[in-house]
Symmetry: C3
Subunit: 202 residues, 3 copies
Amino acid sequence: MNFLLLFGVAVCAVAGALVAAPKKIDMFGVIVVAVVTALGGGTVRDVILGTKAFWVTEPVYVVIATAAGLFTFVAARFVRFSWSVMLVLDAFGLAMFAIVGCEKALSLGTSSVVIVLMGVVTGVAGGIVRDLLCDEIPLVFRRGSLYATAAFIGCLVFIALNALNAPEPTARLSGVITILVVRLAAMRWGIALPEFVVKEEN
Amino acid sequence: MNFLLLFGVAVCAVAGALVAAPKKIDMFGVIVVAVVTALGGGTVRDVILGTKAFWVTEPVYVVIATAAGLFTFVAARFVRFSWSVMLVLDAFGLAMFAIVGCEKALSLGTSSVVIVLMGVVTGVAGGIVRDLLCDEIPLVFRRGSLYATAAFIGCLVFIALNALNAPEPTARLSGVITILVVRLAAMRWGIALPEFVVKEEN
Amino acid sequence: MNFLLLFGVAVCAVAGALVAAPKKIDMFGVIVVAVVTALGGGTVRDVILGTKAFWVTEPVYVVIATAAGLFTFVAARFVRFSWSVMLVLDAFGLAMFAIVGCEKALSLGTSSVVIVLMGVVTGVAGGIVRDLLCDEIPLVFRRGSLYATAAFIGCLVFIALNALNAPEPTARLSGVITILVVRLAAMRWGIALPEFVVKEEN
């Protein structure tokens, strides 16, 4: 899974850099946004679990994310990135990160509630920090995304299969595929959660 | 105090969800804002103190905050929440969280300065993160709230009584009541700290 | 270096408070922004490295930052602060914090990539959090600052000299001076990194 995870980091970094595009930022800012988007979720997870960030011991992730940000900065001048391809790749990153997050929490022996929450946090926190840096209401909160919800459902599948003693690769793959399917289906058919409605004064 | 703390978590979660109401967010977003508001302060405190977040070992807090957020999402369609009642309950949560924060820092043997600071941080950080997620200038910084200031005074009372060897429950209760009184009085009579005034160029 | 570091903390706190000036915030808000700006970078660094924040064991930094914020709040009514003097002092703080960040990561035995990254994070994170609290796009991302870039180059110099077995004070001083020179030169002559340009649809 290590190679796939590196690929997920690279893809998220590219997606992060592209989100920053309309803002007037310089080369360094693009790289920062790319790195934060790619590594932010795992960092928040590790910090909450009381351990050092995963990339402190495996700096290759920093190198990959930086290179992907730099690549995007240069390539975006010559190539028009297709946003829909990016969204699919981003969904792939979301799925990978969420299940990796579950696995890390599981390996530390935390309860099911925390495992699922850490999965969702690992999947979405990078994007939240990215949107905060770019001064926007985080995408994950806007209607019609089924972004965090997809991660949530996939983490539930992972934890359920794990509780049923399914082999690790089966649980992992089922979780990843569930997230991908839910997220892509939500994008394709505009599936959305109900909106928050507050009763007005009469 | 455990039951009271759970109540404080639930109340802060409801208040958080209501703050998110005017934003166009979906069900998941409401729950996230609720959970972040209720657990954010304690999480920031634990992370700064170098320990894992308190709810990793006590996931019941996550369950309570999630349930409170979901409850608010459903109930807000049928019932009009009274904002003034919420502000009172929120003041109660602020008071509880701040003193619990002091106690945690105290139990780790840190200095008085850090104990007071951790109390204030535990009390207010959840609300700050909530306002950042909703893309607003944090309420705690706006004029006329005496929000963090109330927490600060109450933490001073707690630490002073502690230094005088007052029994733990006395110090705790005095701190909580001080915060409640200062905050509610400030709301009732519009007491405010002086505003920041900068000398203009002549 | 301890005295210099305290001076750097005080200077960054004053700069932080002045940035908050145009916002309608009260005395407490000014102190919070000052403290966050001065201690935020080191705190983020320590949390990522899995240790408690440095000021938990050395609360004198909290006292200094608070005093500097309070001083600015009072003094700003009577004295007009020269923004250009502040920018120079702020560059000094950036340089100090970045190299101290490198040294901390170095002492924990992390790899070169992480040492440089921690240096940059320690230097700039305080300002990023400050700008988030004030609801602005972080200064560090805007064009024409060479802010984080200066920290990056100085950290590279520090790590290179270290790898060449230069004595610690030489490596440290060279790093600090490099950051100062790059940052001040960039401000003086408007040196900037290339902007992010995205190919438009034809």
